[in-house]
Amino acid sequence: MKMTRDRITAILMLLPSLVLLGIFVYGFIGQTAWTSFSDWGRNPAQALALNPEIRMVGWQNYRDLFTGIIDVRFRQDLVNTFFFTIFFLAGCLGLGLGLAFLLDQDVRGEGFFRTLFLFPMSLSFVVTGTIWRWMLQPRGGLNVLPTTVGLEPLQFRWLTDRTQVWRFDWNDLPSMTGLLVAAVLLGVAVSAWRSRRRTRAGVALASALVVGAWSLTLARSIALLPFPELHGFNLAFIGIIMAAVWQMSGYTMALYLAGLRGIPAELREAARVDGANEGQLYRYVVLPLLQPITLSAMIILGHISLKIFDLIFAMAGADNATTDVPALLMYLTAFRANQFAKGAAIAMVLLVMVAAVIVPYLWSSLRGEVRR
């Protein structure tokens, strides 16, 4: 009798948090989704009215974002996020792993170095952005650093540079995506063949061929836009990537260092006894054991990079077109231009991208926990 009353108390004590999160997370996401299917804000006079006239317009906002002439900026923002994510991840993982390896060599003053490499994590992205904004002034900062040792100054304009490389036509997107999927399937086929799983290899190869053939033929005739539209990697992002890596690589270093410390010394000894040199030891014993850490670091950093907002806001300003990302565009669209419906649609695209990364991660790590 007493047990059941305590159990009810327990649930009652959890209830306020559940209700709050239910409303503020799921209820609000629902409301954002609903807004994204409306035309709220399309008529500026109605946007901030007490009872705005709102009509439902279905998928119109999304269609505009992906194929409308005016919303070219959103498409470039998606491309920006894509390249930013790749370089940010590569930088953080590479630098973090390198620093962790160095610190794993029994160095003196390890605690000092660890503290030093991790301290930017405790700063606000706004502080980092303010500092790097000053570091990247076209006629000062990093550009004149070489002059302190008598070299010529650099001329790169960093945040305001307008050069775009690796350009491609937005209309080629279906075809390129198809080729990417085909390449992945081909990789699956090869690895299945190597481990002698013939059926699996056959199925993967066949699917790769079908998808590849589709990409080279039918996919080419899909025209997302009635005109060619070029997008690419804006070199103005280089500075932002540098600042972001400066701030976050300590995090991957800490993750890897924890992982390295978790590898039992006997395992390394055994490999050495078997005649492995240091290089082979890392290549065949240590790195494979660090793989799960790489995966979780990629997911955590990946979702941070999809959401990146404050760093760019502080470094380049909210309306610097060459360094724009969807998270910033949503802010500008909804809270500066009062185009709430379109802002909501951008936010939903962002949410879907983040959820695609996070949901499988939550699923697998919590399922593993239950099994344990």
């Binding site: 007493k2 305590d6 159990r7 108390t9 004590m13 959890l14 948090s17 999160l21 503020f24 799921y26 609000f28 996401i29 409301q31 954002t32 390198g98 160095l102 160095v107 503290t115 030093l116 490499f117 991790l118 994590m121 405790s122 700063l123 606000s124 992205f125 706004v126 303010t130 500092i131 904004r133 000053w134 570091m135 000062g140 004149v144 002059t147 400066w246 995090y251 800490a254 993750l255 979780s296 670091a297 955590i300 979702h303 404050d310 806001f313 502080a314 998270a327 809270f335 709430f340 936010a347 949410l351 983040v354 959820a355 996070i358 939550l362 699923w363 919590l366 593993g368 926990e369 239950v370």
Partner: protein, 273 residues
């Protein structure tokens, strides 16, 4: 032995190089903040100031003091409330499993990963409707609610380490839900609270998106004020640099003094405790 020694040199050389690169921005901030506006010249960015211009900090302090005050109020209140609620949630979820808890918990956790843009428009509307838009109370509320997933997660993983037998013993002594919490769980919670409080303090102090969309001029925290000052035209750079130092100091001090717990919070954020 020589190869080993050469490797040592290489390792320390690389570590020192990396340290220099990590400290480069710090050097620049400190040097710039101590120059007088007239002495700040793009071509001599890296040189030490001729005259130490401590006034930058006086000026920055007079500009930012009210904003720092806002940040402290906001951070302290939101941290304490979300930590207390998280502790209670963690206690329920780790020691009073109920049917459906395995569904409820991941649903709660998802809230800490979402891009807040996806809830920002309804949140803005809601705060406007209840009259909290533009003030500190609304911002505090947002930070409490969206801080619940991480505080709940850290406490749940922390309390999972407390053996169930201890609670069973308490039950035999006649303790109920609150008795067990007050007599057994809460007294053991100190390290958990330290991790959670440090984590929330850093996160809320550093946060920008909610701060920039939900506050007005008088209630804005330091991050918004700093971004506005540095983003303006014709900036006298000694001021934002001194401001950046002021904005960074509280979290930096916490990190330097209690770094061990900060790292624990950092690693807890990757879900598995």
């Amino acid at each position: 032995v020589t190869a080993w020694r050469r490797n040592r040199w290489l390792i320390y050389g690389l570590l020192l190089l990396a340290s220099a690169i990590f400290l480069l921005p710090v050097y620049l901030v400190v040097v710039t903040s101590l120059k007088s506006p007239a002495a700040i010249n793009l071509a001599t960015t890296w040189s030490l100031p001729q005259v130490w211009h401590w006034r930058s900090f006086v000026d920055a302090w007079s500009t930012f003091a009210p904003k720092l005050g806002n940040s402290f109020t906001l951070t302290i209140v939101a941290t304490i409330v979300s930590a207390l609620m998280g502790s209670m949630n963690g206690y329920v979820l780790s020691k009073w499993r109920f049917p459906g808890a395995n569904v409820v918990f991941p649903l709660m956790l998802f809230g800490m990963f979402i891009p807040y843009q996806a809830i920002l428009i309804p949140l803005f509307e809601f705060l406007r409707n209840v009259g909290l838009y533009g003030g500190l109370t609304g911002l505090i509320m947002a930070h409490v609610v969206y801080g619940l997933p991480i505080t709940t997660l850290i406490f749940r993983n922390y309390y999972a380490e407390i053996p169930d037998e201890m609670l069973e013993a308490g039950k035999i002594d006649g303790a109920g839900f609150f008795g067990l919490y007050g007599r057994i769980v809460f007294p053991l919670s100190l390290p958990g609270f330290v991790v959670v409080i440090i984590w929330q303090f850093t996160q809320i102090w550093n946060e920008f998106l909610f701060a920039v969309t939900l506050t007005s001029q008088s209630s804005q925290p330091i991050t918004v004020a700093l971004a506005q000052l540095a983003g303006g035209e014709a900036v006298r750079w000694n001021l934002p640099m001194a401001g950046a130092i002021l904005a960074a100091l509280p979290t930096l001090l916490v990190y330097i003094l209690l770094g061990r717990y900060f790292v624990k919070g950092l690693l807890a954020g990757s879900v598995k405790g």
